[in-house]
Amino acid sequence: MVSLINTVDTGHEDMIHNAVLDYYGLHLATCSSDGSVKVFDVKNGNQILIADLKGHQGPVWQVAWAHPKFGNLLASCSYDRKVIVWKEGAANEWTKFYEYNNHDSSVNSVAFAPAEYGLILACGSSDGSISILTCNIEYGVWDSKKISNAHTIGCNAISWCSSTVPEPAFDQRSSTRNTAVKRLASAGCDNCVKIWREDADRWVEENRLEGHSDWVRDVAWAPSIGLARSQIASASQDRHVIIWNSTDFTTWSSTILHTFDDVVWSVSWSMTGNILAVTGGDNKVTLWKENNENQWMCINDDAAATNAQTNEQRTL
């Protein structure tokens, strides 16, 4: 079902914590505990290092690409409490575009908002706060808003709600107005997933999803294709992945996807929002799909095993 098309040896000096392809799937960005962010050209099976970005003084936890309509922009967040937005000026020439220094602890997550809202970046930090950075593209000026104490102890992950999510009572006339309602989900050490809504200049907590019994490590809002339902996946230290469903943003029902062997810390939805990829402490990648009876099935059980084997063979 999935075919390996490229293998990139990143050459990082330490563990890597995130690897993300850009919008077109042509560039790969990786970040590592060695404090660097690397960008590779992976077009047509290439593996050419085109940038080695050094600007962080600690492990870099996550990277995120902006929509290409804003140019080639890459955001990275690090243990050193900084968020850096990198920009490709001329071809393969990367410079620091913006640096945000307003967190008191490690910044664990960065995510760009859907492009329809403009160039907006959300950052979640271990100081418990969430920053929302908005760029005025014309002047290149950044404006920041902060949700302080969003999660006691710390915020571990951030995910935006896609802008195409329709309103509950589907009405075309109002939907153009309502797409402007920005929402984001955050996961934290208080065992909660929280949903935030922008309400006239302020971010308010719209909902709090309680279901995990330990730190929530990742949250992912499923991309919407227009159907009147929202789906959020959250992965936690308690070894559960929970799928949250809602049709109206007020009531959320939860389904435990699976209890894994080890902690789970990364979830990612496919672009049509029907397949979920999960990975955790055991380093196995599993893919999940909901069947017609609304049960979640792992669709790569044996594939995962072989993958892991080949991985091991490669690395040993």
């Binding site: 243990y79 496919s270 990975t279």
Partner: protein, 981 residues
């Protein structure tokens, strides 16, 4: 081993210095047991008071007390680790149970007749266990705390895992823990200088936070009588009494010259016993008994130990509860027993006649009678009635013990006032105090660098940089310091960047602060430095560096903060997975061996970063200089083992590999198929057949029947019927079948099929034709418009070209009534060939004859938009625009310039070529003076124009306006368009 000679004097309570001039009692031990061979690090007295456990790395020894034979039972044990804590159960039904903590495990053992029996092993901590406490009401419960920051509550009935884990979200490990003795619900845990008070019924977060001490807390002890009171002993040389309901401020403070190791309430009476750890390992290793009412001088000191006292406990006397004994274990390897008699307890009682009582907030000076309950010290005042009631309900002997001293109580001895003298010599020794003050000085104060501390020459140099200034401060301490009115002398040295005026102000600040402290014979250096930093910051008008301040908030101060902070940072991901917008899947995973290295002591992945970043107490990883070759996580552990380090590096270097997978098949979406699919509407059935073939070619056999079905849907009901409108209009079954198909594929995740179906049957007016068809029929027209299209510089992918000209030339409109209307270029071309005037009307017609209901259109448009985004990611731009052509509503509002014209009949502004109300045309050509219905063009500057063909002919030869207004139309328009872009 029998008690040594000292115990011979046991009966006569040794020397008791109760002479008039030395009212302070000096007590020697009643019994002494020497155990040279025992290297015990923990001690505990059992419930009966008969046995004392001495636990060490190699031995567990039980010493029998009470009987004179002094039996010692020894149990060998061989462990790599020291015993960090050992506690006998406190309740009779488990009196033989004992919990012994070694490294991260706790063993619960019982002492049988012959041998020790291992009962449980409590495993749950991940770092060294630092303290254990049994519940005072429920014999099954015990709590343990650990460097891993957790406090676990264990139930011996289910010892496999903690019944409750209290997660102190904090940067430092727990050093002490204690159950409340009265309620049993509360428990306190010490983390560095802070206390967290938990309620077992609400284990999610602490009920109170107390910032108790500036330095580490070594001892926590709950009051035996008042539920909310506890005493803490700290490295900073103080014992503080707290009421947890008032966590802001300590109720009382005892200040000592050395760090205080333990402070415990006396089980009866109103006293407290403390152990100090003398500075530099020298000095008196004394135990002091304090009255809870008087913090200035101790009531009694117990002398005899020659080395640091490691621990002490109360030996309960089950026969006579009014008599208590103190059991101490010292590093001099002797176990001593001290008797605390009535006299001493009486001295602990509040002293009504003494002047000092007036200092306490709730004094009893006005109480008419002396027969106050003994616990009614200021401390116990609020729960007075409660205490009494409690006392009454106790068994008779214990209530005796409470009431007898009260009744037999004589007026306090008059000599108390003179005790002050002795106490001073004990606590405030001037000779070592400077030494001591320096040793206690916080070297990590923000903005302050300690350059030099010389306790012998009695001076110190500090460098302070704050508020944009640098100050080099030299401080000289007179020999009398810190006695009243003699403070240190301050001066600014070379390197100070202050102007005269400011330095005078700062010096004054320093002196006043110093004097305030030394007036009470207290040390002052740290306070002075803090005051100086504050004053310097203020001097720049309060404009302080915000980020600086934030980083140095009190919580984060100190060298350990960086590493301690890691406790709230999640454990780094060693693997990851990520879908990209075009269906690519990126995965990575570190090699298992690299992971195991960091996790060797655990089965599951830890949650916090501190688990690998060198641990809580190992130091600040973030600030340590690191070898560029060494792994961030390996440096601490491996730095000592260079050879091993190299080999590890190779492995870790090889690991960071990222795999990219093509997951399109999984997602039911294919780039190749997207390229091949056709939306040709001239012959829907043929198109369906073609798409079916595409599915076959690419192996999507599941879709073959769907396209066959689609072909059937497209087939006219009546064979000769050629007009699709009526066909679709009349067939509700097909309508619902098609909608159901689209919805099924959309919700099943096959967006591509859903969108292709929705587009193919979107609007079915045969007249609209295919884009290619249109291109052919209107080629000529496009050739004409090409020039303009280039001028407009708009994307060729947009269905709606954003060149609707909004009224911008009222002048030209009113003056010449140039009736120019310029619609979108595309619709112009259409209107030329198909003679359409209003596309909207046509649209509404086509909706009615569409197979897709209008209510579903917006939803399907969403599908199309998402699919178009995916096509954009694949850079299939033509396909994308083709899909977007089939949407009803354009997402982006067209913006640009639009010409409006004024109807000559009604004088209303019109955007259409004719006025609907007056039924007259409003657009006239400048050249032929006839109304324009088709393509029109006009000059953006003067507003004159007309039929496109006429305009083109005119401007082939001329460059100025045909109306004769003199406008250089071509140039002006070009300039305006350039401006717009």
């Amino acid at each position: 081993m029998s008690p040594t000679s000292e115990s011979a004097a046991a009966g006569n309570n040794s020397i008791r210095g109760r002479e008039r001039e030395n009212a302070h009692i000096i007590q020697q031990s009643n019994k002494c047991y020497e155990h040279r061979e025992l290297q015990a690090t923990a001690m505990s007295v059992d419930y009966t008071g008969q046995w004392v456990l001495l636990a060490g790395r190699r031995h567990l020894a039980l010493q029998r007390l009470g009987q004179d034979d002094g039996t010692l039972r020894e149990f060998q044990r061989n462990s790599k680790y020291e015993v960090s804590a050992a506690e006998f159960a406190t309740l009779p039904n488990r009196q033989e149970y004992c919990a012994i903590a070694t490294s991260e495990h706790i063993d619960v053992v019982t002492w049988g007749a012959a041998d020790m029996q291992h009962y449980h092993s409590l495993r749950g901590h991940t770092r060294m266990v630092t303290d254990i406490d049994w519940h005072s009401k429920n014999s099954n419960l015990l709590v343990s705390c650990s460097i891993d920051t957790f406090s676990h509550i264990w139930d011996l009935r289910d010892p496999r895992k903690p019944t409750l884990s209290l997660s102190a979200v904090c940067m430092s490990g727990a050093t002490q823990v204690g159950f409340n003795r009265v309620s049993g619900h509360l428990l306190a845990a010490a983390h560095d200088g802070d206390l967290r008070i938990w309620d077992m019924r609400k284990g999610s977060c602490p009920v109170h936070y107390i910032t108790a001490h500036l330095n580490r807390v070594h001892g926590i002890n709950w009051s035996h009588l008042r539920e909310t009171c506890l005493a803490t002993a700290s490295q900073d040389g103080t014992v503080k009494y707290f009421d947890v309901n008032n966590p802001r401020r300590a109720e009382k403070i005892i200040t000592m010259s050395s760090p205080v190791w333990r402070a415990r309430y006396t089980p009866i009476g109103n006293g407290l016993v403390s152990i100090v750890v003398p500075a530099m390992g020298r000095g008196e290793n004394s135990l002091l008994l304090w009255s809870n009412n008087k913090q200035t001088d101790p009531v009694c000191s117990f002398v005899g130990h020659t080395d640091v006292i490691l621990d002490f406990e109360w030996r309960p006397n089950r026969e006579n509860t009014s008599e208590i004994e103190l059991v101490t274990w010292s590093r001099d390897r002797s176990l001593r027993v001290w008797k605390i008699d009535d006299m001493m307890l009486k001295l602990c009682e509040p002293d009504f006649d003494s002047n000092e009582v007036c200092d306490t907030p709730d004094s009893f000076a006005d109480t008419p009678t002396k027969f106050q309950p003994i616990h009614s010290s200021s401390l116990y005042q609020p729960t007075l009635s409660l205490t009494r009631a409690g006392a009454a309900s106790l068994p008779s002997e214990s209530s005796d013990s409470l009431t007898i001293p009260t009744l037999s109580r004589s007026p306090p001895p008059p000599m108390r006032k003179e005790e002050t003298h002795i106490a001073r010599s004990l606590t405030d020794q001037p000779t070592c105090s400077l030494h001591h003050e320096f040793s206690l000085l916080n070297r990590n104060m923000p903005h302050v660098e300690v350059d030099l501390l010389d306790a012998i020459k009695r001076f110190a140099v500090f460098k302070i940089s704050a508020g944009g200034h640098v100050v080099v401060l030299q401080t000289v301490f007179p020999t009398e310091y810190p006695s009243p009115n003699i403070g240190p002398e301050f001066s600014f040295c070379e390197g100070t960047t202050l102007h005269e005026q400011l330095s005078a102000v700062l010096l004054k600040t320093l002196r006043t602060n110093a004097l305030q402290r030394v007036k009470k014979s207290r040390t002052c250096v740290e306070q002075c430095l803090r005051a100086l930093v504050g004053a310097m910051k203020k001097s720049v008008g309060g404009v302080t560096d915000k980020s600086q301040l934030r980083l140095q908030s009190p919580r984060l101060e100190g060298a350990l903060s960086g590493a301690l902070h890691d406790a709230c940072i999640p454990y780094p991901r060693t693997s990851g997975v990520n879908f990209n917008t075009t269906g690519l899947l990126v995965t990575f995973a570190q090699a298992p061996n690299a992971k195991r290295l960091t996790l060797r002591h655990q089965n599951t992945t830890p949650r916090t970063f501190s688990a690998i970043s060198g641990g809580v107490l190992l130091g600040n990883v973030f600030n340590t200089h690191r070898d560029s070759n060494a792994s961030f996580y390996l440096q601490d552990r491996m730095s000592a083992k260079h050879t091993k380090n190299r080999s590890m590096q190779k492995q870790t270097n090889a690991t960071p590999i990222v795999h990219i997978y093509e997951a399109c098949k999984l997602l039911n979406i294919s780039c190749e198929m997207a390229k091949e699919f056709s939306l040709d509407k001239r012959n829907l059935r043929a198109t369906c057949r073609r798409n079916r073939q595409v599915c076959e070619t690419y192996g999507r056999y599941d879709l073959v029947p769907i396209w066959t079905l689609a072909e059937l849907i497209a087939k006219p009901n009546i064979p000769n019927e050629t007009k699709y409108e009526t066909l679709f209009y009349k067939d509700p079954f097909k309508k619902f079948l098609l909608e159901a198909l689209i919805m099924h594929f959309a919700s099943a995740g096959d967006l591509q099929t859903a969108v292709m179906l929705a587009c193919l049957f979107h609007k079915c007016s045969s007249t609209a034709g295919d884009l290619g068809d249109l291109m052919l029929t209107t080629t000529q027209c496009y050739q004409h418009t090409n020039k303009l299209q280039q001028l407009n510089n708009t994307s060729p992918y947009h269905t709606v070209l954003p060149i609707d000209y909004h009224a911008s030339h009222p002048k030209s409109n009113s003056a010449l009534a140039v009736n120019v209307h310029l619609k979108q270029l595309r619709s112009n071309s259409w209107s030329d060939s198909l003679d359409w005037v209003d596309t909207k009307n046509c649209n509404s017609d086509s909706y009615s004859c569409s197979l897709i209901r209008r209510t579903k259109m917006p939803l399907f448009d969403h599908f199309k938009k998402v699919y178009a985004d995916i096509l954009f990611g694949w850079q299939l731009l033509t396909k994308r625009s083709l899909i977007l052509k089939h949407t009803m509503f354009s997402q982006s509002q067209p913006h640009g310039v639009e010409f409006v014209t004024e109807c000559t009949g009604c004088n209303k502004i019109k955007r259409t070529p004719s006025c609907t109300s007056c039924k007259r045309p409003v657009l006239f050509c400048q050249l032929c003076n006839l109304p324009v219905k088709g393509a029109a063009n006009a000059c953006l500057a003067c507003g004159h124009g007309g039929h496109m063909v006429h305009m083109m002919q005119w401007f082939k030869k001329h460059s100025i306006c045909a109306s004769g207004c003199g406008c250089n139309c071509l140039k002006q328009t070009a300039a305006l368009l350039a401006l717009m872009n």
